[in-house]
């Protein structure tokens, strides 16, 4: 294979939109969380548990984590694309990041639905 510069992967827009959409989800969640904590002022484990065992809060919190991990993926991939110039190493690191984030998402779900 000749070592020519190749560009034109033909993606990027979806990630650009997703980065913004996930940021909005996280901002909205932050407001909901602050309002909830402000209104209830939980003290102690049981009070905190009852907030997050509520179905709506569970859904929103899980949505927040999914948004966070998706947002992180786009951001970290951008950093890897800018600074890791070896294609093989970049691919390995990208796979490692995806693996870690998918694992975190599963872990987050496990914690939330155990409450």
């Amino acid at each position: 294979m000749v070592n020519r510069v190749v560009v034109g992967a033909g993606y990027g827009l979806k990630d650009w939109i997703a980065q913004r959409a996930t940021a909005v989800v996280m901002a909205v969640y932050t407001l909901i969380l602050l309002a909830t904590l402000g209104a209830l002022g939980p003290s102690g484990f049981e009070a905190w548990r009852s907030i997050f065992s509520n179905g709506f809060m569970q859904f929103m919190t899980f949505l927040f984590f999914i948004s966070l991990f998706w947002h992180v993926w786009i951001g970290v991939r951008d950093i890897l694309m800018d600074y890791i110039w070896n294609d093989g190493l970049r691919l390995v690191l990208m796979i490692a990041v995806v693996a870690a984030l998918v694992g975190y998402a599963g872990w987050a779900a496990k914690i939330l639905w155990r409450l």
Binding site: V5, V7, L13, M81
Partner: protein, 236 residues
């Protein structure tokens, strides 16, 4: 006539003679009539004719004398010397290979510019007279067609420093939008396809260094935003 002395620190590099680039101090008497940095460079060149830089029109139209002036890219011919802090530090445009002193190799920059097909694409037979635009449609081209390709913006952009071979850069993208926005152009879809790429367009993270340095007061970030907006409208 009153004269005063100005101090300069100028990047020197002659690959035929020097092992490495170095900064040379210059001191020069300037007259009241010397107003722009290029006036002083002309005097410095008379004092030391090995000092090399590009220049042509001396009025901000050709874009030849772009350089890094006290840490910020600009055109020597448009830079007032009275506003400059001394010693004035002059370096070549950052991120491009240096040919000699303040002269850089612009090949990469123009390669990116050519990659966006900077010409009108319209395959319908031309009318008897010119292809007309409404004044409103023509209005959209203002702030785009004025680009003189001096490379001040692209060489102040970290994304272009990291990926000059893959990222089109602010100058190229501003010109891409100039043709995307042109109602007489028929290749809008192909142009958007050409840019929908994680490197070519989406390396722009809107830090706006380009807007900060443009000697013509143009706004590449806004043009890039409009390209993204058109892509979004096309996709949803």
């Amino acid at each position: 006539m009153a004269t005063r002395t100005m101090q300069f620190k100028i990047y020197r590099y002659d690959p035929d003679k020097d092992n490495a680039p170095y900064m040379q101090d210059f001191s020069i008497e300037i007259d009241e009539t010397d107003r722009k940095l290029l006036d002083v460079l002309t005097k410095l060149k008379a004092q030391d004719d090995t000092l090399s830089y590009r220049r042509s029109c001396r009025e901000g139209i050709c874009g030849s004398d772009a350089m890094n002036i006290n840490g910020k890219n600009g055109l020597a011919c448009l830079t007032e010397i009275k506003d400059l802090k001394q010693p004035v530090v002059l370096r070549p445009l950052p991120g491009l290979p240096v040919i000699r002193d303040l002269i850089v190799d612009m090949t990469q920059f123009f390669k990116q510019y050519h990659s966006i097909k900077p010409y009108l694409i319209n395959n319908t037979p031309p009318p008897e007279r010119e292809r007309l635009q409404s004044p409103e449609d023509r209005e959209e081209l203002n702030g785009l067609y004025e680009c003189i390709l001096c490379a001040c913006c692209s060489t102040s952009c970290p994304s272009f420093w990291w990926n000059p071979d893959k990222f089109v850069g602010p100058a190229g993208l501003l010109n891409a939008y100039r043709f995307i926005a042109d109602t007489r152009d028929e290749a809008t879809n192909e142009r958007l396809d050409n840019l929908e790429d994680p490197y070519r367009l989406f390396r722009c993270h809107t830090i706006m260094n380009c807007v900060d340095v443009c000697p013509k007061g143009l706004n590449p970030t806004k043009a890039i935003g409009k390209i993204k907006e058109m892509m979004v409208r096309r996709a949803i």
